[in-house]
């Protein structure tokens, strides 16, 4: 499955978006900004891994306790995102590996 599949009309993705819409406004804002960041960074398990649905699970639980989203994840949202994908290679890593012929990392 590609990013395209998750966006274009796949039933799962529509259900996923509906869940996001049902979150309190502050959670929705943070979710959308996080998703945009993750699309840029491009961890390879983004399209069909548990990453995005997992965030919504976690946000639903947090919202149910009446907490604000930043109380839940801290104000450094980027650090939270980086924690989520810490040991996950990105498309850029895979690409850099493909041209150098050896394991590499885009962070270098």
């Amino acid at each position: 499955m590609s990013i395209h599949d998750i966006i274009e009309g796949k039933k799962q993705w529509r259900a996923h978006k509906a869940r996001v819409k049902a979150l309190p406004p502050d959670y929705q804002i943070v979710y959308k900004e996080m998703q945009r960041y993750l699309f840029k960074v491009g961890p390879i398990d983004l399209p069909d891994g548990p990453l995005l649905p997992g965030i919504v699970d976690f946000f639903e639980e947090g919202a149910a306790t009446g907490k604000g989203v930043l109380e839940l994840i801290g104000s450094d949202v980027a650090a939270f995102c980086d924690g989520l994908i810490k040991d996950s290679p990105t498309y850029a890593d895979v690409y850099q590996e493909s041209i150098s012929g050896e394991p590499g990392t885009a962070e270098n």
Binding site: L51, G54, F58, A64, G83, D87
Partner: protein, 108 residues
């Protein structure tokens, strides 16, 4: 004590493994346990990123259970690989802390 974030970074995962190892539990309860222990700055988001990594690395067994309020909760339990990882953590901790103690006592 404040400002422990940097120092805790490498050890928090081990602490979470230890907490899960003593009984099956969920994210919020793990956070509370760490807070009560005196790590007041640890927030749920941080614990969530750790749990996600443990799951991704196949160290825990995850079960969704209904909760009294809100959506179902994810409960975590160590599997065999998780128990091995926990044993390794304590061995490393023992090594590092004994060396640092030696240094402090001037026997290093």
């Amino acid at each position: 004590m404040d400002d422990l974030t940097e120092m805790l970074k490498g050890t928090l995962e081990g602490c979470v493994l230890e907490i899960i190892g003593s009984e099956e539990t969920y994210g919020y309860a793990i956070t509370r346990r760490l807070n009560d222990l005196g790590f007041a700055d640890v927030i749920e988001g941080t614990v969530y990123t750790i749990l996600l990594r443990l799951e991704r690395n196949g160290l825990v067994q995850v079960t969704k259970r209904p909760s009294g309020v809100g959506p179902p909760r994810k409960f975590y339990e160590l599997n065999e690989a998780g128990r091995e990882e926990l044993a390794k953590f304590w061995a490393k901790w023992q090594y590092v802390s004994s060396r640092i103690d030696r240094l402090k006592e001037g026997r290093g």
